[in-house]
């Protein structure tokens, strides 16, 4: 049985529906992420799981018990807040032992358990420091140790890495994965950072306007977005408006505006005439001065319109003959000193395989 069952939960603030009939089932030991833009309802949902807010409709069941009306202090759920919310007047030791003292754990047990908790987050030796004497990453760890010390059923993390710089963020992501494996506590992670979500999660629920748009593993979310919103929100994506002109043997022929005829695999019941978009990741598009004729089924001539150099890869914007601009990503793996392969204005060919894109009906 699932550890957390969210059934048809709705929360309104006046006329605004923050969470709109969301149902989720999260298993024990899972690293689950709620991903979405700000205002999508992910934080409201998190606050309802923690008990700070109550649903207007639906139920939240933790470990088989309905949580409606149970205050946060009586739920076996802890939260790591975005601001960490460490108590500034307490040392690291006092902060971390706070949940134990609240649940009347005997004084003699505190020391060893605090040590153990600090060991989990590699903060031994920091016991006597105050939060304002710690770096951002260290505060983050104290918040984690404090929230995990009495092994809650669920740990909720509200954008916990948002305040850290890029390098530290990456390191903390790795540590979070390890920590979650070690302690075996179910993590529910809220973020608007899609890279973070893809890197950390077992499963992701992509939320928009209070609803779950897609619930899947990271690779499925990225590789096979279900609709325009998910395709656009997760990573870079070409969304080419098109309509299905013919379907045969699991192959679709799409008429893409300002581009031309494209073949794609995966008809699964799509009727010809259906309007939609072809979602095409930039890294799945090939680019060359001249592509080998049998390299890909879909090939178009064009020229480089502009490019964005980001170090490891360069994103080329290619304008094809009919006027459509397509983003193409190319790793900068050239030997030697040349930083990029093409200059704006260069005539190029772009192409992709039949199974490279996915058709998203409107």
């Amino acid at each position: 049985m699932a550890l957390l069952e969210i059934r048809d939960v709705t929360r309104r603030f006046g006329d605004f529906v923050a969470v709109d009939g969301v149902s989720l089932s999260i298993g024990a030991g899972e690293f689950f992420t709620l991903l979405g833009p700000s205002g999508c309802g992910k934080t409201t949902l998190l606050r309802m799981i923690a008990g700070f807010d109550q649903p207007d409709a639906g139920s939240i069941v933790i470990d088989g018990k309905d949580m409606v009306g149970v205050p946060p202090e009586d739920r076996n759920v802890h939260t790591v807040f975005q601001s960490y919310a460490l108590f500034p007047h307490m040392t690291v030791e006092q902060n971390v032992s706070f949940p134990l003292r609240m649940s009347k754990v005997p004084q003699t047990e505190l020391g060893p358990r605090v040590r153990e908790a600090l060991e989990d987050v590699s903060l031994l030796g920091m016991e006597k420091r105050y939060p304002n004497e710690l770096s951002g990453g260290q505060r983050q760890r104290v918040a984690l140790a404090r929230a995990l010390i009495n092994r809650p059923k669920l740990l909720l993390l509200d954008e916990p890495l948002a305040a850290l710089d890029a390098k530290l963020k990456e390191r903390m992501q790795l540590e979070l994965i390890t920590l979650q494996k070690e302690v075996g506590v179910t993590f529910i992670y809220v973020t608007h950072d899609q890279e973070e979500a893809l890197a950390l999660s077992h499963r992701i629920a992509v939320m928009n306007k209070g609803q779950v748009e897609q619930l899947d593993e990271p690779a499925k979310i990225y590789g096979f977005p279900k609709n325009r919103f998910v395709a656009d929100f997760i990573g870079e994506c070409n969304l080419l408006d098109c309509s299905v002109s013919a379907v045969a043997d699991g192959t679709m022929f799409l008429d893409v505006e300002q581009l031309g005829r494209v073949t794609a695999i995966g008809a699964n019941g799509t009727a010809s005439g259906t309007k939609g978009a072809l979602a095409l990741r930039p890294e799945k598009v090939s680019i060359a001065r001249e592509l080998a004729p049998d390299a890909c089924a879909n090939r178009f001539n064009g020229h480089v319109f502009d490019y964005l150099y980001t170090g490891d890869v360069t994103l080329y914007i290619v304008e094809v003959e009919n006027g459509r601009r397509v983003e193409v990503m190319l790793p900068n793996n050239a030997v030697g000193r040349s930083s990029k392969f093409f200059e704006p204005g260069d005539a190029v060919q772009i192409g992709w395989r039949e199974d490279a894109g996915s058709f998203l009906p409107d």
């Binding site: 923690a50 008990g51 700070f52 205050p71 946060p72 202090e73 759920v77 802890h78 939260t79 807040f81 601001s83 919310a85 460490l86 108590f87 500034p88 007047h89 706070f98 949940p99 609240m102 649940s103 105050y130 404090r146 929230a147 009495n150």
Partner: protein, 293 residues
């Protein structure tokens, strides 16, 4: 202009003000406490004219007098007690009030703070005289209190010209000085800390005693100093509300200067009061620093 000159330009005027109106008067008072009383009151000359039996120069006479008669130490003790009770009562009344204002809707906060300082807009003495009427034997308030006491079979008590009246007056006058620093402190508290405490299992009273109260201690110390120190030296309220037995050390100092015209002895009492006040302020600051607030 050099940064040094700028610094002096900014801090010079207030420093000059403090020098002229605090440091120099304090020095004059210290000196006065070692001088003789003049023939017609006030101070005897510092340098004598040489006539026999003339009192001039410096003496420890006034200090001797202070330590010989225990009545003055008793009065200091009594004033200390009144100031302590006033401070504690102010804290007890002001804390819930300040917390209520700090946690109320942002739109109302400024109005509520305004209401707290509203009494300052009318004259201090008028407000204290108003208490004379409220506490007077013919007032509805006094009759109601004594009516309640009567139903329990107790003798009626006079409210006015009693320690109760003095304490009521002291608490009433000093209350805003406790509310304001507490409010300023409580208003800054990050609400996420209370959420975190609740999330980690703290009940409402634990959240107050473990988080809100310790974090508000700087406000408590500031308010306590602002109430305790003036309450220690006040003379107007015991004068008006305290009756003949109600005098505090402030009244004696006033009497020495204005009625007895014994300036050296008045200065001695003032000195002791100032030293005590500085001592308490220093103690409060030391405690606050020790707790890393």
């Amino acid at each position: 202009m050099s940064p040094r000159a700028q610094k002096w330009l900014i801090s010079g005027p207030p420093l000059g003000y403090l020098l002229v109106f605090f440091a120099i008067p304090t020095f004059i008072m210290v000196l006065a406490s070692f001088r003789y009383v003049g023939e017609l009151g006030g101070l005897a000359p510092l340098v004598g004219s040489g006539t026999p039996d003339e009192l001039a120069g410096l003496t420890l006479e006034s200090y001797q007098r202070f330590f010989e008669d225990t009545i003055y130490l008793e009065l200091f003790l009594k004033s200390f007690l009144y100031a302590t009770v006033t401070t504690l009562l102010c804290l007890a009344v002001a804390y819930p009030l300040a917390l209520m204002i700090a946690r109320s809707d942002k739109r109302w906060r400024e109005l509520l703070v305004l209401l707290v300082i509203l009494p300052f807009w009318s004259n201090f003495l008028i407000r204290v005289y108003a208490w004379m009427i409220i506490l007077g034997p013919q007032s509805g308030f006094a009759r109601a209190v004594n009516g309640v006491l009567g139903t329990f079979g107790a003798e009626p008590i006079p409210l006015l010209f009693s320690p109760i009246a003095v304490i009521i007056g002291l608490v009433y006058v000093h209350l805003p000085f406790m509310v304001l620093p507490l409010y300023v402190n409580l208003e800054k508290h990050d609400p996420a800390l209370l959420d975190a405490a609740q999330d980690l299992g703290a009940k409402a009273w634990q959240r107050f005693w473990r988080v809100t109260f310790p974090l508000s201690l700087p406000g408590v110390y500031a308010g306590a100093a602002l109430v305790f120190i003036p309450a220690l030296g006040i003379f107007a309220i015991p004068d008006i509300l305290g009756g003949t037995d109600g005098i505090l050390i402030g009244n004696v100092i006033k009497q020495q200067f204005l009625d007895a015209r014994d300036w050296p002895f008045g200065s001695v009492l003032s000195m002791v009061l100032t030293v005590l006040a500085i001592g308490f302020a220093g103690l409060a600051a030391w405690v606050a620093r020790r707790q890393r607030l």
